[in-house]
Symmetry: C2
Subunit: 401 residues, 2 copies
Amino acid sequence: MEGFEMKLLHTADWHIGRTLNGYSLLDEQEHAFDQILQIAKDEKVDGIVIAGDIYDRAVPNPEAVTALNEMFRQINLKNQIPIYAISGNHDSAKRLNYGRDWMEFTNFHLNTLLKEAFTPVETDDVQIFMLPFFDPLDARVYYHNQGMSEDEAKKITTIGAAMELVVSDMVKLFDPKKKHLLITHFAVTADGQDDDHLTSETTSKVGGLATLTASQFKDFDYVMLGHIHTRFASPSDTVRYSGSPVKFNIKEARLKNKGKGVDIVTISDSTIKEDYRPLTPKTDLIVLEEDWDTLCDAEFYKQQPVNKDWFAITIKNFDRSEHAQTNIRAELQKRYGTIIELDYQVDSNNSEFTNVTTNISEISPEDTVGQFFKSITGKDLSAPQMSLVENIFNEVEREKK
Amino acid sequence: MEGFEMKLLHTADWHIGRTLNGYSLLDEQEHAFDQILQIAKDEKVDGIVIAGDIYDRAVPNPEAVTALNEMFRQINLKNQIPIYAISGNHDSAKRLNYGRDWMEFTNFHLNTLLKEAFTPVETDDVQIFMLPFFDPLDARVYYHNQGMSEDEAKKITTIGAAMELVVSDMVKLFDPKKKHLLITHFAVTADGQDDDHLTSETTSKVGGLATLTASQFKDFDYVMLGHIHTRFASPSDTVRYSGSPVKFNIKEARLKNKGKGVDIVTISDSTIKEDYRPLTPKTDLIVLEEDWDTLCDAEFYKQQPVNKDWFAITIKNFDRSEHAQTNIRAELQKRYGTIIELDYQVDSNNSEFTNVTTNISEISPEDTVGQFFKSITGKDLSAPQMSLVENIFNEVEREKK
């Protein structure tokens, strides 16, 4: 493998079909996609890696299906760029599996079932293992089908134990003359990282979901992850999240480091490195926390991207009795345009936030928990907590299918 | 086109994912599929035509998706037989469209949108037009996109009017040196057929659905239809229903001519003819209408395929008071095995049938209407009536998507 170079574009968590308080993000996702495709063409990449959560839900709406099909068509058929895609916990593994054998003919590689993960895609220099999201039950079924006794299989109760088996089976397939890449979709934490919200006791209750650490993947030269929406959650230099291309909620918009983008991963005989390529939103999500007078002050709001971006506004020090006759939302919409979330903070000495206007039926279950958590603790859910909540609701939805 | 011969297997209305009073028909459908594939191989056909209603619903369950994918794989990838498939009114056109461009590479032709119907599949001797189910609104949108004025497009209010435009546009594409085949999915009646249940006034109320007649397709050499589940509904010698491969309800099981099968259509320069190939059920659906004593008589029931087939039983001359202490269903199950429907006829001089035990939540809306119709009129819905009822519920479901 002397002198070879392979370039992959690493992205994940597209969540096609996602809505934000009832607003469709499809326009925004298509705008991000156009940039991703352009980067892939400019960089002349050897493939685009999509590390799971391609759709936002097990049964995406027809518009989401049409949009994703067109994105895949643009990448793989129109521009003849290989695709390496896996399903995440938000995708229905069985539904997304449909058609994969036909896609294979044009180097569109798609794995959604655990059993498919043990046939790496091979180039002269690289083995690419594609491991879709799975849970311990999937592993028990798989290993029992492989001849493991039922008693033995029943011992696979955590994702950590399952992953140990899976990785060791992959290592057996390693060609020592090649580099070994893994694409997968899990919450992976840095070794020794102390996360008191995710003790093994807690996580075992929800199927052992967040117990993976970077060292479990030490046999791979590089791991391209999906699941957590920010690249800053990457647990090591070689075990990396690309983050999602689009901001999906207020919390993501509020982060100091908002950077949404993709990685160009360059694999050569000597090194593997990633270069970050930022994506620009079409309609940004602006979070404002100000008092009523400031919000209504032309000097303030004329400096905002009004009537262009979307706003999530929290009115500070708000005394409702002073504004009993005012249609708060209408007044703000007149000045700002689209307001996708409107909160008010009753008392500045008190962290209690109350949501006045959002229709609960338009909020995802995850956001409902997040808002409840915030109203009780005054804090947002951390990235691992949010991921845990998402997993739980996803498990629930999976069980309904 | 001298001396050519093309053989197509014509089937339709697979309705993968269908249930019958809560019982899955998937086993039965897979059994029928195995026979269809064997016939296709034995006959060395040049393609399998599936004329719509491939799935039973817009959002089939994951098992149905997996099963259909495997059937397609068997036909097209394992046995390299071309597929000519269209969506029917039960399918979601947008969902089923996913992946079609990749399938095209292996001669798996799949049309689900009206706009796709104007690119026939061409061989040296034959043009195959594949027209998926559509409604007048789809036609209005399509023709407006083609440059028709909005006022003009608004005049397309019936499927009859829409079909006239569609067929004339297809005729413009005719290569006079070739035979012209059409695959489509509609209720088509014989010319001059007097169906007082389906006057144009009635049908215009539900979007003009059943107003197509065989003569509208006279420009085609042969038309392969889906939609009505019996081949005996074929409106002319060259406009043919293949029927569904599996019995889907008691009414279909009650028909004298139960024949479920497929057609082998042989197209040559001089003639086009179809040969019927019957399919054998794995688990048949047996309809019994007898009095209680006969049903419990060993001499009677031992002649039935007990503990093998499924039974739909109507107890005649039934006096409930005589059997107040009897668990009717349990007694019959002991003797017959699986009973998917149990009715009783209260009084032999009265055609009133009352359903005693079926859980209404397990019955499809179509069957509910059918049973209500029968309880009022004493008659089953006719095939066109049933098709009309199915269309209405399907329209309702489509609008929910």
